[in-house]
């Protein structure tokens, strides 16, 4: 539908896109989902994100918001009366933003190395990946969510990678659950939420996607 108030330009396996899907679902926002072919980007994507030409891009009343963390914060601020994702206390907000930044610095890049490399490089990536997840497990502690009693910003930021864990495990030949059982418990708890259930693809589909991607990139 042309002129839909909220549009999301996305790509189904993207964990960054999943964050925005989850945030929109948490707030009960109706939106138009547009699947992008990243090998053949739409004119709309290039117009709405000319700087990076990447997804996800949230378009609200014709105005674009790019970068997933920025889009999730935008959603939290523009629809502030429902299901707040960030806490109201400035110190707790800063903690949440710090950990979201940590996820971005570590999890995606290390995960990519796990499926895209072999030998020493892969082993080093696996080690650091597990260390990073353990750090987050420590941060979670005994709480049901990173947001405390309720699902919040850090949960939204991290849980999409759960749909990639199976692919990491297969290509990396290791078990994430064996190393970080509490984190897997957390991920399963999150997956019971409708917003997460609707937004994460099946992990076998993701594995299939990575297989194809490796072929296309010429990675053994």
């Amino acid at each position: 539908m042309a002129n839909a108030e909220v549009v999301l330009l996305d790509f189904w396996p993207s964990p960054f896109g999943m964050r925005v899907r989850i945030a929109l679902a948490e707030k009960g926002i109706k939106y138009e989902y547009k699947e992008e072919d990243l090998q053949n980007k739409s004119a709309l994507l290039l117009q709405m994100n000319p700087v990076h030409k990447k997804i996800p891009v949230l378009i609200h009343n014709g105005k674009p918001v790019a970068e997933s963390l920025i889009a999730v914060q935008y959603i939290d601020e523009a629809w502030k009366d429902k299901a707040p994702l960030l806490p109201s206390d400035p110190y707790l907000r800063a903690q949440a933003k710090f950990w979201a930044d940590f996820v971005d610095k570590k999890i995606y890049a290390l995960g990519r190395k796990i499926w895209a490399t072999k030998g020493e490089e892969q082993e080093a990536a696996k080690k650091e990946f597990i260390e990073s997840l353990k750090l987050m497990e420590g941060k979670l502690g005994e709480k049901p969510y990173f947001g405390g009693e309720s699902f919040g910003y850090v949960d939204v930021v991290l849980v999409p990678f759960y749909s990639w864990f199976y692919a990491y495990e297969v290509f990396g030949n290791f078990s994430i659950e064996a190393e970080c059982p509490k984190l897997i418990q957390w991920a399963k708890r999150c997956s019971e939420k409708e917003s997460v259930l609707k937004s994460l693809p099946d992990h076998k589909k993701v594995h299939g996607f990575v297989l194809e991607l490796k072929k296309r990139l010429g990675i053994e």
Partner: protein, 226 residues
Amino acid sequence: MAEEEVKVFRTWSSPFPLRVIWALKLKGVEFDTVYEDLSNKSPLLLQYNPVHKKVPVLLHNGKPICESLVILEYVDERWKQFPLLPQDPHERAKARFWAKFGDDKVLQTMRMDVLLKQGKEQEEAIVSTIENLKYLEEELKGKKFFGGETIGLVDIALGWLAYHFNVVEEIIGVKLIEQQKFPLLVAWMQEFSNIPTIQDSWPPRDKLFDRYASFRKAALGEHTPK
């Protein structure tokens, strides 16, 4: 009224803690400074930033906040005078976008590839930096500062362009921000630097030059080109 204890862990040279210093000064917040030697980090720094072990760290009433852009937003939320972020959610998103762009696309490339590499790798980094600077030039159209009439989060995040950037240009002997190509950026650099709080906080230029030159020399080993 409870006494506020505000401390900033910084180095004398890094542009990241400088952002926090500027924000606190502009907001008229009293604070203490702890200078760190990153080759010999204090136990306190390691205690307050165990994850990254870096500066800046802001300590507010004993509670640490890390990562300069996170600290800036915290400072803006705690001390409302001289607001750094606008109120409108879309404008806030734009400000966050440009602050991140500056760090990911310009700062990273300058301090790593432009300063520390040579030959083709350096050339490509220079081309990439200039391409990305064009976006910033475009963003300044019709504005005195990135924040509009007064400086904001983006000006503070990009502030290093008005000082540290030129030190790198001088060391490598290549000018990237040329007047004809980037008239708005050059004007912004002057306006930004003219702000007394900013002017008073720059690190000593000759020391900075020596520091960056030594980084370049170390990265390139014995084969420093002329």
